[in-house]
Symmetry: C2
Subunit: 166 residues, 2 copies
C-alpha cells in the first residue's frame, strides 16, 4: 500500500503582472510599477528587513496550468528533436506546479513589493518569499546543462533573457 502524505499550502498573497494570456520567458520590465507582489495584510509584518535585500525568490502556485504534462517532452522553442525530462526543465507542467522566480526589489510600501520583471501571469497565487543571499545562492561554477548542446545557443539566450524575437 502506498503511503499518501497530504501536503496543503495556502495563498499568502498575489503576484500582479501585465501578462494575462501570454508571458515571456524572462521578461524585461517595460513600465515602472507594472510588477507587484501584494502580500495579504495579515502577513505583512513578515516583510520586516526584506527591503535590505537586492534580490528575492518568489515561490508561487502555477494555477493556470491544468493537469500534468508528460515527464519527458520536446521543448518547442529549441526547434530541435530533443527529449528533456520535466525535472531538467523549468516548464510549468510539473508533477507539483510550484513556480520559482528570482526578481529584484524596487521598493516596498506597506504590504506591496514593487519588483522588476517577472515571468508569471497576472493574479498568480503567492506561496512564499525568501531572500536571495549572495554566498548561499550565487553559484559561479553553475552551467547551462543540456541547453549548452543546442545548435542555436543565441536563440536560447534570447528566450532566457526575455528578448523579443521572431
Amino acid at each position: 500500500m502506498k503511503e499518501e502524505l497530504s501536503i496543503n499550502f495556502k495563498k499568502i498573497g498575489i503576484i500582479e503582472t501585465p501578462y494575462e494570456k501570454v508571458a515571456p520567458y524572462q521578461p524585461f520590465e517595460k513600465d515602472v510599477n507594472s510588477f507587484k507582489v501584494i502580500i495579504d495584510p495579515e502577513y505583512s509584518e513578515g516583510l520586516e528587513r526584506l527591503c535590505s535585500f537586492k534580490y528575492i525568490y518568489l515561490l508561487y502556485f502555477i494555477d493556470r496550468y491544468s493537469g500534468e504534462g508528460d515527464l519527458v517532452f520536446k521543448p518547442d522553442w529549441t526547434r530541435e528533436d530533443i527529449d528533456v525530462g520535466i525535472f531538467a526543465s523549468r516548464s510549468p507542467g510539473r508533477p507539483n506546479p510550484i513556480g520559482l522566480s528570482i526578481t529584484s526589489i524596487k521598493k516596498i510600501e506597506k504590504n506591496i513589493i514593487y519588483t522588476t520583471g517577472l515571468d508569471v501571469f497576472n493574479g498568480t497565487p503567492l506561496l512564499d518569499i525568501k531572500p536571495y543571499i549572495k554566498d548561499l545562492d550565487v553559484k559561479p561554477e553553475a552551467n547551462f546543462g543540456w541547453l549548452d548542446e543546442l545548435k542555436d545557443k543565441g536563440h536560447f539566450a534570447k528566450h532566457l533573457m526575455g528578448i523579443p524575437h521572431d
Copy 2:
C-alpha cells in the same frame, strides 16, 4: 468573505541525509553517498538530461516543523537583538513550510540522485527538482541584506557555510 484557495501537493520522493535530529546550516559533506534524493520510480523518467546540470534546486516539504512561527522573530544565532521578518529569513517557521536548497549532482543512477551536502533532515518529502541555470539564477549583484549589518560577520559566515564552531 475571504476567498479560500486549496493548494495541494504530493510527495514525489524523499531526501536522505545523515541528519536525524540536528541539521547544520549549510553543511559540508563528510561521507561519499551520504546525501541522496530518491525519486519515486513513477517519476524517474522526468530525470532525463538532469545529469547535464552541475547544480539543481530542490523544493521540499519542511515536515518536521509543526505550527507556524512568529512573523517577526529574533534569530538566536546572531547573538544580537535584531528583529527579522520571516520572509527576510530562510528559517523553517514559514506560513507555507516549503524548503529550497541548491545542491550539486555527483551522479544519477536510475531514480537516485547522489548530491553534495544538504541542510535538511533525513526523510524529508521532496516536492520538485529544477535545474539551476547559470545566466538565469546566478545574480552577481546579489547582496547579504540585513546580514551585512551584523557586528560579527565572521560568525554569520560560518553559519552560512556550515563550518562547525562554538
